[in-house]
Structure formats: C-alpha cells, structure tokens
Symmetry: C2
Subunit: 210 residues, 2 copies
C-alpha cells in the first residue's frame, strides 16, 4: 500500500488526499509537520535531527509566540492528536475524518482547534464516545505522532503531500487545482507515478516562478 | 520553439540537452549561471535582482577566491563567452558546440577553460577563424550573456536545465540517467510536458532524499 505524509495546515496536502480518495486508492496515513519542518530553529539541520520538535510542545504553550501566523503550533497539535484518535476507528473512518478536517480548514476556513476537530469527527460519522476517549489519552496520541514525524524525518520529507509508492519511491506532489472529472484525476496520478517509476530516475520537475 | 536555460557546469543540464538533441527537438539556447544563482551574496535576494553578477566579473579576477570549488567563476565565463561566440555560426553549429563542451566537461572530466572550449569548437566543426574572432569580442559576448542571465532572473530560473515550452510553462527538469533508447527518451520528455500542461497546474514533483 502507498503511504501519504500530510499536514492539515497545507492546502496542497488537502488536494492530494482528495485526489486519492476520489480515485479510491487506499493509503497509509502519516503526518508531517510544516511547523517543525520550517521552524527557524531547524534551519540547516538534517531533517532527521531537528532541534525544535512539535511533540515537545504543549497545547496552549509558548511555542507560537515567536512564529509567523501560518506556523500554527496549537492548531497542528490539535489536528494531529485528533487524527491519531480517529485512527483507532480504522482506515476508512480515519479517511472520512481526514477529509472532513481538511475541508473544514481549507474549504470553510475554520481554525484548527478542538472544536473544529470534534465537528469533523461528527461529520465523519465516528463513534463520538470512542473518539473522545482516544483523544483524552494525549500521551498515546503524542507518542504515535512522534513516530510519524521521526519516520518522515528519516525519509527526508520536506513538504506535503509527500507520497511513497509501494516501490519505496517517494516524492512531494504539489498541484494547484483538483481536476473535476475522474479522467483528469487519473491523468495526474499517472503523471506522478510515471515520474517516480521512470528508469531515468527523475528527481525533480519544478516550475520556475517569477 | 522551446527555450532551454543551461549552465555548462551542470551534469543535469548536460543530460537535458542530450535528451532534446537525441529527440531532434530544436530549442533556443540560453544561459543560466549556477555560480550567480548560488552565490552567498545573492542568498535571499529576488532572482531578478542579484547583488553579485557573473557579468561583472573578469576572467582571472578574484571572484573565485571566497567560493567553494564547484562555483567556478572563471570556467563559467570561459564557457559562456565561447558559447555566445559559437552562436554566431547558427543554431545547429551551436548545438554541436554545446554537446561537445558538455561532453568534455562531464564525460571526459575536463576543466572549463579556453583550451577546452577551443577543442569543443574544433570537434563541433566550427569555422575556427570566425570562432576566434567572435570570441575575441568579449564585450559583445558579455553583453549577450547579460541578457540571458537577466531573462533567466525575471523568469525565476533557479537551476539547470530549465525548459520553457511554447505555452510559456517553464520548469526545472532533473533526472539522473539518460534513457538509452528513443522510446525511453520520448517517455520522459512526454512526462515533463504532461506535467507542465496538465489543467491541474502541477507545480512540483520532487523526490524526498534521506
């Protein structure tokens, strides 16, 4: 099965997950933190050895104080902990939760917080008692998140969505517009796969921007 | 016609030019300077407004002194001036020169200098008197190079090869291995074009590296 690294903060990750969901391509969901990846304290450090770690932060702590607004520490923690709580209800339920939380954030412009996560769980049809119990075990959610972020660091993930194929080939995949019909969606998924699987070992296709 | 921005220092640019030559796809040749693009003085400046410019340097000047070896100022100037001199003999002759100079540098591991450029001109079957005369007019070569680098800067070129299609879509295209047969070559060229021309506005496909 493929693996997708994503961050709820990221609109490109949202589009990537919508693409795979629409094509009914199952995937292992893992998290990558843009806040940690772009944190000033981690600049020029190897991605596998960050100095500032998201999992060392507390919700409501001082982590946000020195950062630009888009690096939302509290929102990241709320979203990732809720996501790990939702995972306990299985892959399909978790995918529904993921889509609802992405849509709340990027289609409906909600902040990532406990209330938004709860509403997403409701819309996804989760067992709300089980979700609340799982979310309340923050130590477990945090430990699972630490594993995701460590794996992402070891693989050199630098943005989201990053997709790893069954072959081990792994790349960041950024597109501006989710194609409306299935053919269009399949086309860009095939482009992504062909790029990674070509014998030429294509490393990068990246637009220049003025 | 498509346009290709390249730097003789860059093995990926070499592969890109070999790809287009093998597929007999004609292109406008323009230069981009890795030395200028990666120069410490230009870090965090817009690509359209560098502080340190290659065209402000003299061959044999002090430009190389503080830089890592791969940022070869003299070699860049020698190669680019010779390239502009060769352009005066037409697009086909220039392509032959380009391929010979790339092969001298990256297949045969020669330094980029006046001697290597001269040997490439000879192998490319250039009119050597005309080449010497054109190369001697360094002010003209320099002025032409300045235009290339300014255009690259305006377009946000950040590496080579960067290829601009007739549609205006423009991207960096990096691959590790030139496919041996024509089908393989055509396949990766089609992947590149499809990536740029998709309605999804794909911005980046980039491998994560541990």
């Amino acid at each position: 099965m493929i693996t997708v690294y994503y961050d709820y903060l990221c609109p490109y990750a949202w589009r990537g997950v919508e693409l795979l969901a629409a094509l009914e391509i199952p995937f292992n969901a893992k998290h990558y933190s843009l806040v940690q990846g772009n944190h000033p304290s981690n600049t020029s450090l190897p991605r596998s050895a960050p100095m500032w770690k998201l999992v060392d932060q507390e919700i409501g702590g001082t982590g946000n104080a020195e950062l630009p607004a888009y690096l939302d520490v509290n929102g990241s923690l709320e979203a990732f902990f809720a996501s790990h709580a939702a995972m306990q209800q299985g892959q399909e339920a978790h995918l529904r939760f993921t889509l609802e939380l992405f849509r709340a954030r990027h289609a409906n412009k909600k902040d990532l917080n406990a209330q938004t996560a709860l509403a997403a769980a409701e819309l996804a049809g989760l067992d709300m008692n089980a979700f609340a119990t799982a979310r309340a075990d923050e130590a477990k959610c945090r430990a699972e998140l630490a594993i995701d972020l460590e794996e992402a660091g070891k693989l050199g993930v630098f943005g989201t969505p990053t997709i790893q194929l069954e072959t081990g080939d792994i790349a960041y995949f950024r597109f501006d517009k989710l194609p409306e019909n299935q053919e269009g969606k399949l086309e860009i998924w095939n482009i992504f796969k062909q790029t990674l699987l070509s014998d030429a070992r294509i490393g990068t296709i990246k637009r220049a921007k003025p």
